[in-house]
Symmetry: C2
Subunit: 93 residues, 2 copies
DNA sequence: AATCTATTTAGAAAATTTTCTAAATATCTT
DNA sequence: AAGATATTTAGAAAATTTTCTAAATAGATT
């Protein structure tokens, strides 16, 4: 996992919205797309970005592709942020 | 604070690097700039993005501008991520 | 007040990202 | 196997972001 990819993925509002939607469980690409005012191709692009960032993974069933949150990466991001908690510099004495 | 702005700000590697540098305490714009292979104007642009996202704040002293982490916003970001912890949908029964 | 140092602003160029349309792929149904 | 449904890929256009150079601002020093 690269933080560069992860943060880039999180920087787009549609992609963050997709992640929030997926909290409820798996959704197919089409189901996800129907919540947005963009073409299926564009949604597919966003899903591919989330997938490359390991924020979601996909499973195929029939002619559907289901997307699901990959919660383990969220843990790693939390660790990145934890770097900023406590032990502040010298408090600028 | 808007998450859109915050995540956009975090999506650039130079800006994340600046945040990491600031963990040690306040630094002037020039001091920050000297760690990068880019013009002062470009560094100034990145600092302005971080500032608009409330990730840092500035204080002026003489003809220097010092930048400092605004840790409170990090807490808010952690809250955003907390949305993804536990209480997963229906686990797709 | 002239000059120097530190930083920002303006405007343009370069790079990247987002979006679309059209075509391709893959699986299902008849 | 032909047609229907779901999704992705390719390639181009549109939008946004990043970067630079040059000029502007602001405070400090001579």
């Amino acid at each position: 996992m690269s933080f560069a990819e992860t943060f880039k993925a999180l920087s787009d509002p549609a992609r963050r919205e997709i992640l929030l939607m997926l909290r409820g469980g798996k959704m197919s690409a089409g189901e996800i797309g129907s919540h947005f005012d963009m073409t299926g191709a564009t949604v597919s692009y966003h899903l591919s970005v989330l997938k490359k960032a390991d924020l979601v993974y996909e499973t195929k069933q029939k002619n559907f592709v289901f997307y699901e949150l990959n919660t383990s990466v969220f843990e790693e991001i939390m660790l990145w942020f934890a770097q900023f908690k406590g032990e502040n510099g010298d408090e600028n004495k």
